[in-house]
């Protein structure tokens, strides 16, 4: 049985190649091998969503994806959300509306929330609650998280996200929001 394999993938816009065991889960790959500890890891059972990151532009629970399955694909983690060192509108929304207490769920909430805003720049409360239904928060009661996403919808005028290459394709959406 081969013990390790090389995988190459684009992570936050940069191509990386690493040696992994086939059984390595993507969450451990990004945290332990790439040092990107913004992606959290908790329940291990595909329930909590703390490990949410994007594969090919869609949020997935990375405790239930093998790193080898991401070989040749594009991964985006919470570390890539800021724009040139500035918090993006969604991150600012979490600050403005107290969208976090302990912060453990926040990276997953942000990655799911950003995906929602990219597809629907002006989501109503029900849409937001449905979108984040795979991300559990034990602290906030969700009210402030929903408000944080709304804050981003109302303040995401595109200026903050505009200079980031990976945000280009949705910058126009945000202008119309």
């Amino acid at each position: 049985m081969a013990t390790t394999m090389d995988v190459t993938m684009t992570v936050n816009g940069t191509e990386v190649t690493r040696e992994v065991e086939p059984r390595t889960l993507l969450v451990h790959f990004v945290r332990d091998q790439l040092g990107l500890t913004g992606t959290h890891w908790a329940c291990d059972t595909t329930n909590c969503g703390a490990c949410t990151l994007w594969v090919d532009g869609e949020p997935v629970k990375s405790c239930t994806v093998l790193a080898v399955m991401a070989d040749g694909h594009e991964v985006r983690t919470v570390e890539d959300l800021d724009t040139g060192g500035e918090l993006n509108p969604l991150q600012q929304g979490f600050m403005q509306e107290h969208g976090l207490q302990c912060g453990f769920c926040t990276p997953g909430m942000l990655m799911t929330g950003q995906w929602l805003l990219d597809r629907d720049p002006d989501p109503d409360e029900a849409t937001i609650r449905e979108a984040i239904s795979g991300n559990l928060c034990r602290c906030t009661g969700y009210e402030n998280i929903v408000r944080a996403v709304r804050w981003a919808a109302e303040h995401g005028d595109g200026t903050a996200a505009g200079d980031d290459a990976s945000a280009d394709d949705h910058a126009t959406d945000e202008v119309t929001a």
Binding site: P22, R23, D44, N47, V68, M69
Partner: protein
């Protein structure tokens, strides 16, 4: 930390290659699609494959399209073909399924959560053969079929013969599922009803139904049941009780009573037997009522 036992990983580019690798490895190998049933089982050591064959790159398995009946073994009428790699998220919003069978979107809204739905596939769902799998109940209600391919060609298996028991299917070594088929009908309505403990959980009980109307008379009825220990996930006696009669509250209550008596649920953390038995009937009744409403709308649309 939950991590699977060690295994070898192979990625294949075509169905033929997948079949060749499956034959080569025999029962030591498993296909992996979304991985959202298999990886959790591997983490718990409930599954210990020595080789995983990743089919996510295989082209031509992610379509939803109308095909002429008879193509690949159908029965003459038009069908909707759904590729094995179509993900839950795509089924939820698919316009063809939405137009003909709203039961799919009803069920998908209640399957897991949006993130799981971005990965899990219809092929993985039917092959996992979990008695609580919602899509299997939907396809069972619609009397759909599963297209299984091997090196010798394709065979079409009615969904009601596809599952041979909990977590067991007719798919043999060297075979894989490439498509799910559901028939297209006119003057129909369909619906899915599920009770879950919390958002994203598996069903305590669920029922999906469709009705085909001929004027005010039910011409055809289908019932699919998840998580309640129904043989082949259905209840033929209840279906038969409906055919030839009116689509009214009495008929639905009779069918619901038959379902309640026929199912064989087990008590677990999701609830006791009598509660699940009650739910199976009540959810069948609600799904039938919504199916009838939708069939009425469907007929009105055809008349317009």
């Amino acid at each position: 930390m939950q991590v699977p036992e060690t295994f070898d990983y192979e990625r294949v580019a075509t169905v033929e290659e997948a079949l060749q690798r499956l034959s080569h490895h025999g029962d030591e190998a498993r296909l992996i699609a979304g991985g959202h049933s298999l990886l959790p089982m591997m983490k718990l050591r409930l599954a210990l494959p020595e080789v995983l064959i990743d089919i996510n790159d295989v082209p031509g398995l992610d379509h939803v399209r109308v095909v002429a009946g008879g193509e690949g073994g159908g029965g003459g009428e038009d069908e909707i073909a759904i590729g094995a790699l179509v993900r839950h998220a795509a089924i939820l919003t698919d316009p063809i399924l939405g137009e003909h069978w709203p039961i799919f979107a009803d069920a998908e809204r209640k399957i897991a959560d949006p993130l799981v739905r971005n990965r899990g596939t219809i092929g993985g769902s039917v092959c996992q053969a979990d008695p609580a799998e919602d899509l299997s109940a939907v396809i069972t209600a619609l009397r759909g079929s599963v297209v299984v391919q091997s090196a010798d060609g394709r065979r079409t298996v009615p969904i009601r013969e596809f599952h041979t028991g909990p977590w067991e299917t007719v798919v043999g070594d060297g075979e894989m599922v490439v498509e799910v088929r559901v028939p297209i009908r006119t003057s129909v309505g369909s619906a899915y009803e599920k009770v879950e403990r919390r958002v994203g959980d598996w069903a305590v009980a669920a029922a999906g139904t469709f009705l085909r109307m001929d004027g005010n008379t039910i011409a055809e009825a289908g019932i699919g049941l998840a998580a309640v220990g129904a043989t082949h996930m259905t209840c033929p006696e209840a279906e038969e009780s409906l055919v030839g009669g009116p689509a009214d509250a009495d008929a639905f209550a009779t069918a619901a009573g038959i379902v309640s008596a026929a199912v064989d649920p087990t008590a677990d953390q999701r609830g006791p037997v009598d509660y699940k038995r009650h739910l199976a009937g009540e959810l069948t009744r609600r799904a039938l009522a919504r199916s009838a409403d939708r069939a009425r709308d469907d007929s009105l649309r055809e008349d317009a």
